[in-house]
């Protein structure tokens, strides 16, 4: 490699790391602030003493454990629902050329643009008629039928060779057995990809849960954090940072551990 090339490469490398620095600095700062008193954090007193008070304080001011549980319940209500319902629907589209399937699929795709995020007003009205306001199931219900999931699974199912299905049929598998024993296992990568994308989406969702939850028993982390942080109540940086970290920690830790899978999943879901 020539001298010029070497310089060019190292300049690029430095650039890459500076960019990375900018990208994690905000989070690192929040992390740092969470372990220092507010005034130390504000004065960037690098050598000021570490403290866990902020976490203790935030923990005592709002029930973050309960919020985490709510988020967990929400996600574990939505995801299996999405997977189940979308699996059935995708199977119907791929294997049963039922009358009106094309129109039905077009109606499914409508949801890709008209997402529940936008229909907050009427969906709220619907759910209050159903008496599901301020329930975890109400919070999750509009998301259970996911056009995106149906779409992804339909693509995955389509790519499964018909021979496999024929072979299973010869072995005596019925319609549902073929679905469970052939289609679902073969589409596992798609299931994983969608699951990670879905979980991170709903873990981070805010507006709809804010609208639909009233009480501590249903408030997910984002809403709890949003109310905790309501700037009207005066901002205590360090406590806020601690609360923020506690809220993002579960997903963030999961991401850091399974980084590759997350990135792969987002990639796969993005390519479609």
């Amino acid at each position: 490699m020539t001298y010029r090339n070497r310089i060019q490469t190292s300049v690029e490398l430095i650039g890459a790391y500076i960019l990375a620095g900018f990208w994690i600095l905000p989070l690192l700062y929040a992390f740092w602030a969470a372990f220092h008193s507010s005034s130390d954090a504000m004065h960037f007193d690098i050598f000021s003493p570490l403290t866990l008070d902020n976490f203790r304080e935030a923990w005592s001011q709002a029930p973050f454990a309960r919020f985490s549980l709510n988020t967990f319940l929400l996600v574990s209500f939505i995801l299996p629902g999405q997977l189940l319902i979308s699996t059935l629907a995708a199977y119907a589209f791929v294997r049963f050329k039922f009358t009106g399937a094309n129109i039905a699929f077009a109606l499914v795709l409508v949801q890709l643009m008209i997402t529940p995020e936008i229909l907050i007003v009427q969906n709220y009205v619907t759910l209050s008629k159903l008496g599901l306001v301020d329930t975890i199931s109400g919070m999750g219900l509009p998301y259970i039928a996911s056009a995106f999931c149906i779409f992804l699974l339909r693509q995955a199912f389509k790519s499964i060779p018909k021979e496999l299905e024929d072979a299973a049929e010869l072995e005596g598998c019925g319609t549902m057995a073929i679905l469970w024993k052939v289609y679902v296992p073969l589409a596992t990568p798609t299931y994983i990809a969608f699951s990670l994308v879905s979980v991170s989406h709903h873990w981070n969702n805010f507006l709809w849960p804010l609208i639909i939850s009233n009480s501590v028993e249903t408030r997910p982390l984002t809403v709890g954090l949003g109310i905790f942080a309501a700037p009207e109540s005066g901002v205590e940086w360090s406590i806020l940072s601690a609360a923020t970290l506690m809220s993002v920690a579960p997903l963030l830790v999961a991401f850091l551990i399974f980084q590759k899978q997350f990135v792969q999943s987002f990639m796969q879901a993005g390519i479609k």
Partner: protein, 291 residues
């Protein structure tokens, strides 16, 4: 198996999804439309048919125009920049360089944070005088700025924050795109004496066009859906300088309890998104399929 049996089975399998989709996508869309044609009900005033009155007042509502224009600026400010940065990031982590895993993690992490947490963190950066940015400026002898309190800087501030959050996600899409490009293409062009720059513009960028289109449209749709940060940062202020359509819908419906007007706003937003999605449909369908 008989056709009619398959027909019934197919419909049965599709029914659960169909019911939920109808209940939470199609039905509310239709009722929103009807709602916008009627006035609100209260003790004092009964509900009555008002036709397009809500739309008339929408188009003469300066706040509506302001939030619409804000949304457009937000899209315009966020999307090209984050696409540019995302491509750069993807090019970086697509190469075998030292610490690639770390770099990819660093670029992607903000994507995993909820917007509300992002806003909490950035609130501190933007706080006038005591915030991080002003403190840093102070060191270099610059005077602080009231980033979120000044209508000319509030939207750019939010744009910067959004770029920070979104670029990593787009990076992943570009990374996927880059990985479909055979490395031999780069070797071939290198051999022809093509510079990296030339290779990017003549080969990579055109080959990433489908990805760009996908990202473009999704980012555009997203810019209308993401308003969480307003709850923490500005509440749409000052004087609606950072207000966005969806937040305005939220305010109108839940704070002003004006369902009729909120419905009209929603229908407008839906129409806008539907048009965009249709554009996507046409573009993506006509795009050249390489290999």
């Amino acid at each position: 198996m008989k056709d009619s049996v398959r027909n019934i089975q197919g419909w049965l399998l599709f029914t659960p999804a169909a019911i939920l989709l109808l209940a939470f996508t199609h039905y509310p869309t239709v009722t929103t439309f009807f709602q916008s044609l009627y006035t609100n009900k209260s003790i004092i005033r009964p509900r009555r048919f008002s036709g397009v009155e809500a739309y008339e007042s929408m188009f003469s509502d300066p706040i509506f125009w302001k939030v619409f224009v804000n949304n457009m600026w937000l899209a315009l400010g966020t999307i090209p920049t984050s696409i540019g940065i995302a491509i750069l990031m993807a090019l970086i982590v697509n190469k075998a360089i030292p610490g690639r895993g770390f770099l990819r993690m660093a670029y992607f992490t903000p994507t995993m944070l909820p917007m509300i947490a992002v806003a909490n963190i950035w609130l501190f950066f933007y706080a006038p005088d005591i915030g991080l940015i002003d403190k840093v400026l102070e060191i270099f002898g610059f005077e602080g700025n009231n980033w979120l309190g000044n209508p000319s800087t509030v939207l750019p501030s939010i744009i910067v924050m959004t770029v920070w959050k979104e670029a990593g996600l787009f990076m992943v899409f570009y990374l996927a795109g880059l990985q479909t490009i055979s490395p031999e293409l780069e070797e071939a062009s290198k051999l022809e004496g093509s510079s990296r720059w030339n290779y990017f513009w003549r080969i990579q960028f055109p080959l990433l066009l489908p990805t760009t289109l996908f990202v473009l449209i999704n980012a555009f749709l997203n810019s209308f859906k993401l308003v969480d940060h307003l709850f923490v940062l500005t509440k749409g202020g000052p004087d609606n300088a950072s207000n966005l359509i969806l937040y305005y819908i939220y305010e109108t419906a839940f704070s002003f309890l004006d369902i009729s007007y909120a419905s009209a706003l929603t229908i407008f937003l839906l129409a806008l998104l539907a048009l965009t999605a249709l554009a996507q449909f046409f573009f993506l369908d006509r795009r050249t399929h390489y290999r």
